[in-house]
Symmetry: C2
Subunit: 195 residues, 2 copies
């Protein structure tokens, strides 16, 4: 069993996850997982992200000798009508994704895995995100800002896409990439308090 004196490791290279965790008065280090584990095809999104988070935690655990270290891993995907939307990478693909998202509800799934030694706790969180109807001019203006390119699903609700999202149902921080309420509960099971 860990405690608040345990070494805390965030197994993610995401600057947004790091920033979310930094709000708490707890020191941690970052050891990014490469996350190259292939996901078994055709898994439902909730199972997929849990599997990937678990694999990331296991990958980092292999490089850490301290068996009391507590490792946090997460994986987030955006799903629309059963299709996973990755990072668009190009303006053309960003425009196509945003056109598909317009007026519809997409689902953001995060898998979360906390691991200490051989003990693991995993959880999955889903948030539904409703976009209002977007005009082509708005989509073009948003793509021109460059923001969508490196975002899964081509949008950052925490930033400029706040203008596009009418409502969400679920944990807001899950959409940013780290469901904090759930994370706090998992960490508590390992004796780590974020507050």
């Amino acid at each position: 069993m860990a405690s608040n004196n345990a070494r805390l490791i965030l197994a993610s290279a995401s600057p947004r996850r790091k920033e979310l965790l930094e709000r708490f008065a707890l020191s941690f280090e970052v050891i990014p997982a490469r996350g190259e584990e292939a996901a078994p095809g055709e898994l439902p999104p909730g199972d997929l992200v849990c599997r990937l988070a678990e694999a990331k935690a296991a990958e980092v655990a292999r490089t850490v000798s301290d068996s009391r270290a507590v490792i946090i891993a997460a994986d987030t995907v955006v799903e629309l009508d059963g299709r996973i939307l990755g990072k668009p990478g190009t303006p053309e693909r960003a425009k196509a994704m945003l056109t598909a998202l317009s007026g519809k509800t997409n689902r953001v799934w995060s898998g979360l895995c906390v691991r200490c030694g051989e003990e693991t706790r995993c959880a999955c969180e889903r948030t539904d995100v409703l976009f209002r109807e977007l005009t082509e001019a708005e989509i073009d203006a948003y793509v021109a800002t460059g923001e969508p390119l490196d975002k899964a699903g081509a949008y950052g609700y925490q930033s400029l896409a706040s203008l596009f999202v009418e409502r969400i149902e679920g944990d807001y921080f899950n959409v940013v990439g780290l469901p904090l309420c759930r994370l706090g509960e998992l960490l508590r099971e390992f004796g780590v308090a974020l507050l």
Copy 2:
């Protein structure tokens, strides 16, 4: 009718509202409304916040001679079971509010008013916020951080209370104090584009 060259004024002293608006590439100035208009008693929360936002916009409009200036005003309250929760101010009141919020859904209401000359557009936004069950130790630890004291309803979902909120239904930015999606739509009616 205003345009993107119009002078934009935020009629609020809230640093959180200023910060939210600063994400957009649009310059604006801050002229805080004192907001001393007395609210007619016993109004439903949605009507109350609209009335207060409208009064704030009108108050600032009286001090601005430029009739093309576009004024943004907002008012936000937290409601639990029909009771409005203000800023607790003291640790004791913060603890009592958080104890009441534990395991329940509270509602955050924002009224929004955009005004240019004599023309006004108002809207109301509601977000439901579900707290998980909190322990007394957690509430004490949160109150000890000082965060709840100056927050309506004694919590900041955007900050440490992210550990307490299981899910929301509505616009996240409404909970922070400025419903951005709705604001973008109102501003567009005055020819001002945030993107």
